[in-house]
């Protein structure tokens, strides 16, 4: 084995990597927030059974779930680019991930709604609540608890997926690592450190998700 490891260039660049890690977190969290809102909307529309827009939601959900996330990102970069719409790398990653998250979360939400017995709705309405009140106060809080665990998984998945930014010129953690690695030619060392950073980010997400759940769900 003739290879000698050089860690110094990596440690010199560590602040840059950590900063890129924050960008990874930011874009993942944002894509989740948008994805949750869109996913909830898709699920509600799909359940409403309006055939005119049902095909649209089904198409979205199926494409998001059944094609590689990378392909979806390419749609937002090259795809839109061909029509003269040039998104910044940040927007490409954010839009692609929000699209992807929404598709997966829509199915989680649909399962969540299906798991709430319809007698809960009846009980709420029998007390004189409007349909909107019943949804906001009774149904959705219970659905959120059911989809909380899948949502945590989706957030972890979002962090892992954001590394595809590297392939569309976005300097989140993986992209920044690639840039620094090519400059210094210490590819292996850089990516090993980055792997550790990803691991820590994922652990922090899971841990905080548990803490929040513990505070939030007392029943």
């Amino acid at each position: 084995m003739e290879y000698t490891f050089h860690w110094r260039p990596v440690f010199n660049r560590l602040p840059d990597l950590l900063e890129a890690g924050l960008i990874t977190l930011e874009v993942s969290a944002l894509s989740m927030v948008i994805g949750i809102a869109l996913g909830l909307g898709l699920a509600l529309i799909r359940m409403s059974g309006n055939p005119a827009i049902a095909w649209f939601t089904i198409g979205w959900i199926e494409i998001a779930r059944n094609t590689p996330a990378l392909l979806q990102l390419f749609f937002f970069s090259f795809g839109l680019g061909a029509y003269g719409i040039h998104l910044t790398p940040y927007m490409v990653v954010l839009c692609g991930m929000a699209f992807n998250n929404a598709g997966y979360l829509a199915e989680s939400f649909r399962g969540g709604f299906a798991a709430i017995p319809d007698t809960q709705m009846k009980a709420a309405r029998s007390l004189g609540m409007t349909a909107t009140q019943a949804y906001l106060r009774i149904i959705i809080p219970q659905v959120l608890r059911i989809v909380y665990y899948p949502m945590t998984n989706q957030m972890v998945w979002a962090v892992l997926i954001s590394s595809l930014g590297m392939l569309v010129g976005f300097h989140e953690l993986a992209g920044e690592t690639q840039r620094q690695a090519f400059r210094s030619f210490r590819l292996f060392e850089f990516f090993l450190v980055t792997a550790v950073i990803y691991y820590v980010i994922v652990k922090i997400i899971i841990l905080s998700s548990r803490l929040i759940a513990w505070r939030l769900f007392r029943y």
Partner: protein
């Protein structure tokens, strides 16, 4: 381009469709090897996790957790750069298959463990009380019950690995995603090519999804 101007980009032809199909074939090979190998390994890991208690959770569980917590694309870059360091250059397709297989096994291990734990203790005791050996109990009681419980999760993992095989394109292995990407640069018809690539992925997922649906339905009624 008007009036004999220079044609910058090539048209998309039938030959290109064949090239994409070739890429899809490699995607199929890489992902089926990864899924089969990952399922066998993952089943073994899952069983180990279920019997080894705390020690297993700390050692094996931790290693598998790393595979689940680091982006596959980073794992790919690490692997393909690691083997030359220790003197075993691997080609892109081999490295991609290997990484996906490990990644798959880490996910399947979780599923398999859940399947084993889905079988109630009393059911297993019932098996043992009939005089079954440990292995008979595992083969005739735990496997059929556990398999049914986790089939949907396993399907999700398998389809996920198929899609993640697109990441091998970063190693320039010549699978579907990379071929598509190069063709886009050449023809400048991203919607057409990404659409075709998407259809290929749909077509590859379809048999797995249908097989799983079929089994789920058959197992429900007998």
């Amino acid at each position: 381009m008007a009036d004999g101007g220079v044609q910058f980009f090539f048209e998309f032809t039938e030959r290109d469709l064949l090239i994409l199909a070739e890429g899809a074939k490699l995607t199929l090979i890489i992902s089926s090897l990864a899924i089969v190998g990952g399922t066998v390994l993952g089943g073994l890991f899952g069983w180990l996790l279920s019997v080894s208690g705390r020690f297993g959770a700390i050692t094996l569980g931790w290693v598998l957790d790393i595979f689940r917590s680091v982006p596959p694309i980073v794992q790919l870059v690490l692997f393909v750069n690691f083997f030359p360091i220790i003197g075993f250059p691997v080609d892109a397709a081999q490295a991609g298959t290997l990484v996906l297989m490990m990644y798959c096994s880490a996910l399947v291990a979780q599923v398999a463990r859940a399947g084993i734990e889905a079988v109630p203790k009393t059911t297993r005791w019932a098996g043992r009380s009939l005089g079954m050996s440990y292995w008979q109990d595992l083969r005739y009681v735990v496997l059929p019950i556990g398999l049914r419980a986790v089939l949907p999760s396993w399907t999700g993992v398998a389809l996920g690995v198929l899609k993640d095989s697109a990441l091998v394109s970063v190693l320039k292995a010549g699978e579907l995603m990379q071929v598509s990407q190069e063709m886009i640069t050449r023809t400048q018809q991203p919607f057409l090519i990404l659409g075709i690539a998407g259809l290929f992925y749909f077509a590859l997922s379809f048999p797995i999804a249908r097989l799983s649906e079929h089994l789920e339905r058959r197992w429900k009624y007998d």
